[in-house]
Symmetry: C3
């Protein structure tokens, strides 16, 4: 691990040295630039349009995803710590990869706040995939996966946004569908038949569920920022935030309803509350900035709360027992299915767009029908949106298979099955009363050294 971290960081420094410079709005020449662009005020700097959203997204990636995964009773350090490691590495590599594809000008990558958001987005898809293999992989495996997944993500994103000219500001397709199916393919290939023996460690304890709720709530609250962060200035950011807010609110109610309905005695299950309540945000990722009306968002949230909760109850056990897909956090229910729904809703919303609904200027601005796309119609756009889903799926399966095969090589020092979901393998764990209590109540396990 030390060697890998140091080498890669050195590589980052060299590549940043060669390629990365500030965008005009972050460069000290901005004073002059401003005059040339005839801007009257510093407030026109993109920083003020996007920085608050950026910080919200940043919190989602590091606290949101990190703490969401702390529900495991003995893997809290790994959940937060490895998420921290892979995200910190991933954003650097993502700045480069996405920079080459999108911000490359005369031999340099020019970065500004929008690049930071996109790097966070890209890493978000890695955090999603991490959810599937949580507790079963070594940190080196995670770093290798991050490197490769960020690369594939950027290629997929380039195909969708630039070649197909697809709109996907909240990343239903690029982040969630791709990230989740990628992670599921990887975990399928890394299938561990003997995982049963640490079944007792896959559960939660009372406090670990509360820690996980911190993650859930930050993801839920800041999701409007996630879906609006890179939308067009003005009405598009505004609209995306409102739609996401509505969808998430509806999703909470149907999640609670189905969680209670599907359990014996009508009790609520924290796993559903922690996860399925977020599905509504995933599923309006593509369409939130379009003229999806607020009631449309409610319908999407309504459906996703149901689909996701039902998935946790019936589909996850099925995937594990029949298809050998061991999905620790249930990303299939939280990201994969809602992501697909999001892609479809986006395609429909785009296909149904009319100039009347958007206004002439609004229509062109929303779908960016300028230049070579000047003549594209709404229904054609809908078709391309649908194609984007298929491309993302294809990339996820193919990429996941490739990366899974690489991670299966016996050189990455992954833990034995009996050590899965146990922080003690990779972390100095305090020998505390709770640890003692844990082993006290599990007398068949030897005390940790």
């Amino acid at each position: 691990l030390p060697l890998v971290c140091l080498l890669w960081e050195v590589a980052m420094i060299v590549l940043f040295g060669v390629f990365v410079r500030f965008s005009p709005e972050a460069d000290a020449h901005w004073e002059k630039e401003k005059q040339e662009m005839n801007l009257t005020s510093d407030i026109e700097n993109d920083f003020y349009f996007r920085y608050p959203s950026f910080q919200d997204v940043h919190v989602m990636i590091f606290v949101g995803f990190g703490f969401l995964m702390t529900f495991l009773k003995r893997y809290g350090f790994g959940a937060v710590g490895f998420n921290f490691l892979l995200a910190a590495f991933g954003i650097q590599w993502a700045l480069l990869m996405q920079g080459w594809f999108h911000s490359f000008k005369s031999g340099k990558i020019l970065i500004g706040v929008e690049n930071l958001i996109n790097a966070d987005f890209c890493v978000g898809s890695v955090c999603i995939a991490f959810g599937a293999i949580l507790g079963k992989s070594s940190p080196i495996q995670l770093l290798v996966m991050t490197l490769l997944q960020v690369t594939l993500f950027s290629v997929n994103e380039y195909i969708l946004l630039n070649l197909l000219h697809v709109k996907d500001a909240g990343g239903s397709m690029t982040i969630h569908t791709f990230g989740a199916y990628f992670g599921l393919t990887v975990t399928r290939i890394l299938y561990r038949p003997n995982l049963e023996q640490c079944k007792d460690k896959q559960g939660s304890v009372y406090h670990s569920d509360l820690f996980a709720m911190i993650g859930t709530l930050y993801l839920w609250m800041y999701w409007p920022s996630f879906n609006s962060a890179v939308s067009d200035h003005g009405d598009a950011q505004h609209r995306a935030a409102i739609n996401t807010y509505c969808s998430l609110a509806a999703c909470v109610l149907t999640t609670m309803a189905f969680s209670s309905m599907l359990q014996k005695k009508g009790k609520l299950d924290m796993v559903h509350i922690q996860n399925a309540t977020l599905a509504g945000g995933v599923a309006v990722g593509t369409s939130a900035e379009m003229m999806l009306p607020p009631y449309g968002s409610l319908i999407v949230g309504f459906i996703c709360g149901i689909v996701s909760t039902v998935g946790y109850v019936y589909l996850t056990p099925f995937l594990e027992s029949k298809l050998h897909i061991q999905d620790t956090c249930g990303i299939h229910n939280l990201h994969a299915m809602p992501g697909l729904i999001g892609g479809i809703v986006g395609a429909i919303t785009a296909a149904a767009a009319t100039e009347d609904m958007y206004g002439k200027e609004g229509f062109i601005k929303t779908f960016d029908f300028t230049g070579t796309y000047q003549t594209r119609t709404a229904s054609v756009q809908g078709g391309f949106q649908a194609a984007g889903i298929l491309v993302s799926l294809l990339m996820a399966f193919a990429g996941g298979a490739l990366v899974g095969a690489i991670l299966k090589l016996p050189i990455w020092g992954d833990a034995a099955a009996e050590n899965c979901f146990e922080d003690d393998v990779y972390w100095e764990v305090p020998e505390d009363e709770e640890g003692d209590a844990y082993h006290m109540h599990n007398p068949d396990k030897p005390a940790s050294p």
Copy 2:
């Protein structure tokens, strides 16, 4: 529960479908609108004035209130989870109710970011009332209370803001006074004489107090955003944030002082630190955007820290034993009394306003003395502000009595007294070492199934 959630969510979708559309600033026609309004830049969109404050308020409602109530040792899931449920439902209903009263144009409710903030505010008053009945009610009771309280809140708000033309940007009257006395009336009517027997579950454990501090700190830190979120653009938002900051800082010191003074051996009590430190924010809710000078804020915070802490030590036990008001979180000390103080301070500050102090334009803008209110004077405004307090109190008592009576009907499936403050009734609780430890130390209780 499942049926109620699903039916209400369907009702929401239908009502949103009929009534809710985007405000001009969130609509794709904004491009054209902008030209007509002669705006030069997208940054003039209200989104950029209010979105950061909105996100802070959002955190206060879901993390702030949610975690503040996790101090109970065995009711953390209920505190965070039910708060999540009622808030998610409440914001949808509030968007409709407040929309009909305030944003109704040619048959449609036009929503923008300010509506989202107001919906969060409205739900805040429900979260306050929830604090009084925490641990003693079923989720269905909570949903019924949310539905009715949001309705009454909106009516009260309409009377105050539109009929009396009262200023109350931070909601000392509309949110805190109304919400707290409403909740106290409800809990009085739902009085449970046998609650003594689960006295041991009404306490906290070491970690649950730390979880509650997360809630406290987020409420404390973001309160300046709460009080400034819907103030006028520019100086009013700026001033409201500064005043709230000052008041809260002063409040911490007097809370600590009195907490230490009133305990044996001079020790500090976490209950006071978690709650009374926030009273300063409540009490400048009305006046923060007015020209209350910073030292005035300090005085308000100074007094409220004392009042609130003394309330916890002497008043709460008195209310419980003599008046049969079982106030789980002590909302009387944190919201009711400081809310009243806030209303009074607001009335005085308004009555004392002079054109000299505000400037001619500032005076008119701050109190919105335009149109039919062009001739209203500062002292008359002070009188109306005072009337606003009385109306809020009246609505709270009458509404609370009504809703309490409805909730007392034996059809809502509320828990028996011995199951109060216990997550196990409504939640799948992991059977963990701590749970065991809990029962180990409470040998008179049977082990949870």
Copy 3:
């Protein structure tokens, strides 16, 4: 304690009454001011440039520093609670002290959002010093230290920013170097030889490490806001955020690498992850707003992750055993050394600046080479930056020695050595199963009363 708190708060009210008023941008006269300044929109109010950053900084001070210090198994209340107390008191005193030095106009201190940020910054340096004496001091000692340290901080800041005309927007020198060496000097003077006997209480438990990670992550995520909060509008804020983001990302990787490398069996240590990952933010505090290129930030982060982690492993034990510096949180590794590095990097970056690199206007604006400084060159500026480091160090040692001597007076009621790192002395601690468990596993300690 009660008396001190109340007296000081009364003093604050009086001083605020005499001196503090609103800045023009927060005053109701702003409507007129705006016309005179020919501003077309309320969005030009400084509030909208700085408020989001302010809130992030606010979270860092109260949640970041507060929870970072909750790692101790029995001192969570003290860490969060005393941090809350001293910060709430400190910001009021800092508003006054910094106001007299920087915002004093015709007999009044005019405060706006930038003052709030600077007050938070000033208190940040007290929170840093608190880290060194965490668990060993009484609340009164902390309040006395806060009063004196804020005073000295403001003097030092005045010398640096006004007399030496040094740039230090992120406070590598003024906040970190000064705060850390001040705290280390104080803890040296308060040396307690018998602290060994509560060695067992200086450790963490599993959950307390997770609470500390909340603090770590909020500091890490919001550090870009910290370093950009008071930079010039526009490109400088933008650039500072990007540089800090890059430096922090690099720092995580080298911290993980060295943490694993320096432990037996290659395990990771939570102490390093919680602290050393943040060193990169400290070390670009001075230079982030300058034209330090992104790869430069990566190099700084790279080095600081190593220096800080090595410091935890080798230097902290050495300081304690040889120099009798008992540094509870290891602020020498997180703030002192990275702060020095930050000062040096800032001096070099300033000295290396050219008009070509910044553009003519940008060069003048960045270093504020106007008025009497019109003729200062980059290399001279570099020299003054270096002088700023020395002045900060000198002030820290002299001030720390003085304050340490005052705190050593036997009148402040500090706890006996065997009660250090124990909440029970100053807090009502719930007698819960965990507390019991704690004593159960430490049978040589008497049960808490």
